[in-house]
Subunit: 419 residues, 2 copies
Amino acid sequence: MADSKKWVVMATAQTPTNIAVIKYWGKRDETLILPVNDSISVTLDPSHLCTTTTVAVSPGFEQDRMWLNGKEISLSGGRFQSCLREIRSRACDVEDKEKGIKIEKKDWEKLHVHIASYNNFPTAAGLASSAAGLACLVFSLAKLMNLKENPSQLSAIARQGSGSACRSLFGGFVKWIMGKDENGSDSLAVQLVEEEHWNELVIIIAVVSARQKETSSTSGMRESVETSLLLQHRAKEIVPKRMVKMEEAIKNRDFSSFAQLTCADSNQFHAVCLDTSPPIFYMNDTSHRIISYVEKWNRSEGSPQVAYTFDAGPNAVLIARNRQVAAQLLQRLLFFFPPNSDTDLNSYVLGDKSILHDAGIGDLKDVEALQCPPEITNVPAQKYTGEINNFICTKPGRGPVLLSDESKALLNPESGLPK
Amino acid sequence: MADSKKWVVMATAQTPTNIAVIKYWGKRDETLILPVNDSISVTLDPSHLCTTTTVAVSPGFEQDRMWLNGKEISLSGGRFQSCLREIRSRACDVEDKEKGIKIEKKDWEKLHVHIASYNNFPTAAGLASSAAGLACLVFSLAKLMNLKENPSQLSAIARQGSGSACRSLFGGFVKWIMGKDENGSDSLAVQLVEEEHWNELVIIIAVVSARQKETSSTSGMRESVETSLLLQHRAKEIVPKRMVKMEEAIKNRDFSSFAQLTCADSNQFHAVCLDTSPPIFYMNDTSHRIISYVEKWNRSEGSPQVAYTFDAGPNAVLIARNRQVAAQLLQRLLFFFPPNSDTDLNSYVLGDKSILHDAGIGDLKDVEALQCPPEITNVPAQKYTGEINNFICTKPGRGPVLLSDESKALLNPESGLPK
């Protein structure tokens, strides 16, 4: 190790969230986080939804510490510890000749780390913050400690922190292979296609104003495995066939098949939740309304224009086949779910605001002037003001990246404490 | 036939509704109405929920006619016609010596019928009005035309009018055997136990204020059969085992098992609806809230006190293990779902009002004074005023009966037209 002078070595990375289009629901091993079926996700553009994490190491650090969105949190959880242990055991020599620092493989076990993580979206909004967070933790620590593992091998470590985190180590469309080994070594993520493969897609997330507290996905999926009589049938008989079809649809950019499979699989995941004892309800009346509108529109167009998918919460993730459809979708969403009159449109539609521009909407007056969509026959259509917190316009995005610009670091390079 | 003088012969019957505790969802034959699985129901006390039907025949009638709740409706539907045809083909000689009327078997094909039917509950409230209605039609016509068939044989005719109608031909707990024959002859209902067998049970129906139009059960189950990948697994693998357990629970009056099976099967039926493409939502946020309260209460008591079940709509049917529990249940329901301030308690809690008395509630002030149930820990608990239209307190009840008191008839004995 270098001299005892209190140097700090840091790495900062940015990692995307992902949303599953073939759902992961149910573990066959709770500790290793091994799933009962394969799953597929699309990575979301980190410009709009991502976690940034800075990890630092210094002989001056007295213990492992972590800050999430500026607030210190405990690292004592088994999942954090699993990730830290797995990464430390694979750490390699690191040399910074400029600073005159050399850390040898054997030193890593003794060195403590500081971790600062920041989500550019609300943590509690049910937008897979733990997936992005754990993936970013693993990716940034792997960079700091000079791991030789490839992204798939890193995904198997991230998986032990949060199952769906393994899918956040790649951009584009990602497959989590459930694997067979008891030790979980073959339960990892692989990239199906890069984000550029299907770059017409536009994604709009409707963040639903939820009143009720939700069942955590960890306890929810445990209860489903224990009590749902439909879950095993889904995992063993239905998902394997759907995986084949979904991979094909993605490779061929076959939006009709993609949308049909995405919607059906989201609904089936929520069906399994409902078949759990006691039943789990993640979707609420607002979620149901969004589904009904999308289904009606898709039917009236003769082929799917928009796919919907819902994770363990009421928020809708809507995938439009192209920008033009996305603009029409946003018009519809704003027609049915206008903001409260005291809401600024700029804080109601977030992310890629060019979709708002494409939709011809500049201010709240434009929202009020929106016409009822032609597929709605029972006029006057009911509007549901206030049921949506905000919309986020985004698209498929890239995988994790290292940020070399030190000004982006969340920890002070001298003290190793949050800036 | 008797002379051409325009005599009228009538019969009036009263038939209960029923609520399934093992659900019927999916037909293997649309025309004959043959189900994909067995089902079990409890018959509801006709004092609170029933259909009364008067059928009349006269050489003076020029066509078959029907009035529902005083309004003439068309009898041209295939299902009405199936029932009428099946009953006419089994009609026997009828002689009324007092009136000097004799109708021979062969005459029935030429005679037209008048039918008047009345539900003592809202037809559109999703309370199985078609089940009671078709069962009553078949039962009263069978009496009028002197059919020799037993109730199970009549149930196979009622089944062709509305599947679940076959279960309304008995009181107590009733099993609809799906049968094997292609012609449907063995798809019929049998009584499992009489209503007196388990007379501690109390049933409270929460009629939920629904805003959205629902998918009819006929088209809903067709779409489930065509698109749900879970339905066949449920029908073939899960329901047969549940039937055995449910029959045992009913025979042993084992409320814990009964409640567990009833709730799980209701949830699984709705899970299959959700797994349908496009998905079908019968339950809404109010339904979900009721389930959550019941589940929480049951857990806090250590064993189930109340079972819930939902048909093709948002209304909750809650089965309490005894009167004491029912009074506590009603207190809880009124605490969470108080009536609007302009609602009369007397029209908010219908049916057997002695439960209201047991609950110590005489007026709206008593409702306001209700304490938050002890199992609710996140105080102050949210209340949902206006989400419930009304509650109906009832219990398991008897099967169809003939009403010999002519003053109860809905048709004029001279004209054969509605009174």
